[in-house]
């Protein structure tokens, strides 16, 4: 009997695959897709007293992007995220390079392990430690005083954007090192030897060969650091003293304390849009890099 070309829509294998993926998929739909969709819907509705009025409006988005307060919060979050990303990725690159090129193969996972251990400790505690280190009577100040280097504590260490950037850069360092390391590992060492064989200096080889080939890793690092940083809550809360809010703090205030869910949703969705745009931009850059290497 002739089956012909078979069922093209759903093979038995396809059906099994779908059945297998349905538990995590359904969970993701219920816990992620549905709530995000709900928030998107809320963002175009109107805020009522203790309720949400089913009146479609774009006012929330207009407020988000035009109101001075929210605009400055968004802008600050963006600036902090960009600074953190730049600092983290640039500082991380030499470390990744070191482990990839200057460490014996069998020691590499040990070094990586050592680098990632701090990451596995509580983020809260680490942020708190920075508060303690940078504080007016904190570790640095008291240490410098005890060593008689200064008389009065340095007031500029804490409660400002710089402190936040430092804390976040510390927290996300391993996130940046790992993807860069992975892409450096993938570079065929023979390519670099060929470059030098053809007369290039070591620096030029790095600049013309290694760096471009590691770009996918760098771009991944940028995204991995940028995205959570822009939505961070704890650091602005603790290090900023509550006076330098970022997007996450604004959302909390609006959703919970002010009970303005539509506006809070609009800010959240706007943040997601910023994140999405930046991600797409970098993914596009990544594609161009990859294509340029064919």
């Amino acid at each position: 009997m002739d089956e012909g070309k078979g069922n093209r829509w759903l093979t038995p294998e396809g059906a099994s695959g779908l059945k297998l993926i349905s538990p995590p998929l359904i969970f993701a739909v219920l816990m992620l897709a549905a709530p995000l969709a709900t928030m998107a819907i809320f963002s175009v509705l109107t805020d009522g007293y203790l309720t949400i009025l089913p009146i479609l409006t774009l006012q929330n988005y207009i407020d988000t992007w035009s109101d001075v307060i929210y605009r400055s919060i968004m802008f600050r979050s963006l600036m902090v995220a960009v600074s953190v990303t730049a600092a983290t990725v640039i500082l991380a690159y030499p470390v990744a390079y070191f482990v990839s090129f200057h460490v014996a193969q069998d020691k590499k996972s040990l070094w990586l392990f050592l680098i990632t251990i701090p990451f596995w400790t509580s983020y809260l505690i680490r942020v708190f430690m920075w508060k303690v280190i940078l504080g007016y009577n904190g570790v640095i100040n008291s240490g410098l005083k005890a060593l008689h280097i200064i008389d009065q504590p340095l007031g500029w260490l804490n409660y400002n954007v710089g402190a936040m950037v430092l804390t976040l850069a510390h927290a996300y360092a391993p996130f940046a090192i790992l993807p860069i390391f992975v892409s450096l590992e993938k570079i065929e060492r023979a390519l670099l030897e060929a470059g030098q064989d053809l007369g290039e200096s070591r620096f030029l080889t790095f600049w013309r060969v290694t760096l471009p080939l590691s770009m996918p890793g760098v771009i991944a690092a940028v995204l991995i650091v940028f995205i959570p940083t822009i939505g961070d809550y704890v650091t602005p809360n603790l290090i900023g003293g509550g006076k330098i809010p970022m997007i996450a703090n604004a959302i909390e205030k609006l959703m919970l304390k002010a009970d303005n869910k539509p506006l809070g949703s609009a800010i959240a969705i706007s943040a997601m849009i910023i994140v999405g745009v930046v991600s797409l931009l970098f993914l596009f850059l990544n594609r161009r890099f990859m294509r340029g290497q064919r």
Partner: protein, 357 residues
């Protein structure tokens, strides 16, 4: 033992098997030979039960295998990657399929030892699977399959991952093993030398179809088409014009002149439809100084010399022809090897020609 009746297989729109009809006899060493993508592995897997067929029938021992899963078929397979379970020892691997066997533990252990001896791995029982060399892994895979006493052993390119010397050694061992065990072996390979050495019969496949199914010698001497001829060993071709035909066919061969061929020398299709005659390198001989003139001779210029130690291959161009022909000569002690550019008399045998058109 195994019968294919019009077997069809589609992967979506891709027609992988186009109506395979053939029979594999019990106790024979059978090979499926062909280039990559010809469907030989697919066909093997339909016997094993890992591929469903879109049409036709596959029968083992007369029984239709439609709907029968691999674990219920009287076949066992040696995979191309050997698929040795890395978390088990050699013994545990070989004894893997005996789990449902009702015999006692001691009996099973003895059976495992016996099979290990059969494949030459006595004493390897406790070795960890991941610590084996390629050749050893292959023996474990063989033992693991043979211990279940299948009616058919299926081998998917078992030697392709091995070094040359080990491959040649294993070829001999597989032949011996098959004779000892006595069951049907079906081997898939793209290496025509391998197939010629080991098989009782070979099915040459191109593009999902069987081009020729024959014993090695017939396959070599009388290929069914120019494509098969090209695939098996080396064959020389010269364009020919067919002058007349019926019982005896008159052809005019470029550079060689007129020849009469009998019906047995007429074969199948030529590539591109232009008639050619083919002849194997060993059917040409260089006549050295002082040798008597041959029945049919031609003058040629030596263009390349490839020295192999026991053989020398000469690429020559016969006067009046456009292409190089390869000619093989056994090196005789004391006889010189010709230089490039030398002129030589080449003897050829009319009875060795095969016509394709």
């Amino acid at each position: 033992m195994i019968a294919f009746r019009g077997v069809q297989k589609y992967y979506g729109d891709y027609h992988a098997l186009r109506g395979i009809t053939a029979t594999i006899n019990g106790g024979e060493f059978f090979s499926l030979l062909g280039p990559s993508g010809c469907g030989k592995t697919t066909l093997l897997r339909t016997v094993a039960g890992f591929e469903d067929i879109s049409g036709g029938q596959v029968l083992i021992d007369g029984k239709d295998m439609a709907g029968v899963p691999p674990n219920d078929r009287p076949t066992n397979m040696v995979f191309q990657s050997y698929a040795i379970f890395p978390h088990l020892t050699v013994e545990q691997n070989v004894g893997f399929g005996l789990r449902k066997d009702p015999r006692s533990k001691d009996e099973k252990t003895r059976e495992v030892d016996k099979t290990l001896a059969l494949v030459g791995l006595t004493g390897f029982g406790k070795r960890a699977a991941h610590a084996l060399s390629g050749g050893q892994r292959q023996r474990v895979a063989l033992a693991r399959a043979l211990i279940l006493k299948p009616k058919v052993l299926l081998l998917d390119e078992p030697l392709s991952a091995l070094d040359k010397k080990i491959r040649e050694q294993m070829q001999m061992e597989l032949i011996k093993l098959q004779r000892e065990v006595g069951i049907t072996f079906v081997l898939v390979t793209h290496d025509q030398e391998e197939a010629l050495v080991m098989s009782d019969r070979i099915a040459v496949m191109f593009d999902g179809e069987i081009a020729q199914l024959d014993e090695p010698e017939r396959l070599y001497r009388k290929p069914a088409s120019q494509r098969v001829a090209n695939f098996i060993g080396t064959m020389n071709f010269l364009p020919a014009r067919v002058l007349s035909g019926s019982a005896m066919v008159e052809v005019d061969v470029q550079g060689l002149g007129r020849v009469s061929l009998d019906a047995g020398q007429v074969s199948g299709a030529a590539i591109g439809g232009m008639p050619v005659v083919g002849f194997r390198p060993e059917t040409l001989t260089i006549l050295f100084e002082g040798q008597a003139p041959a029945d049919r001779e031609a003058m040629a210029t030596v263009e390349e010399v490839v020295y192999y130690g026991d053989m020398t291959y000469y690429d020559v161009k016969i006067d009046g022809t456009d292409q190089q022909l390869r000619l093989s000569m056994r090196n005789v002690f004391g006889r010189p090897v010709l230089d490039i550019g030398a002129r030589a008399r080449v003897a050829w045998a009319p009875g060795a020609l095969v016509l394709f058109r």
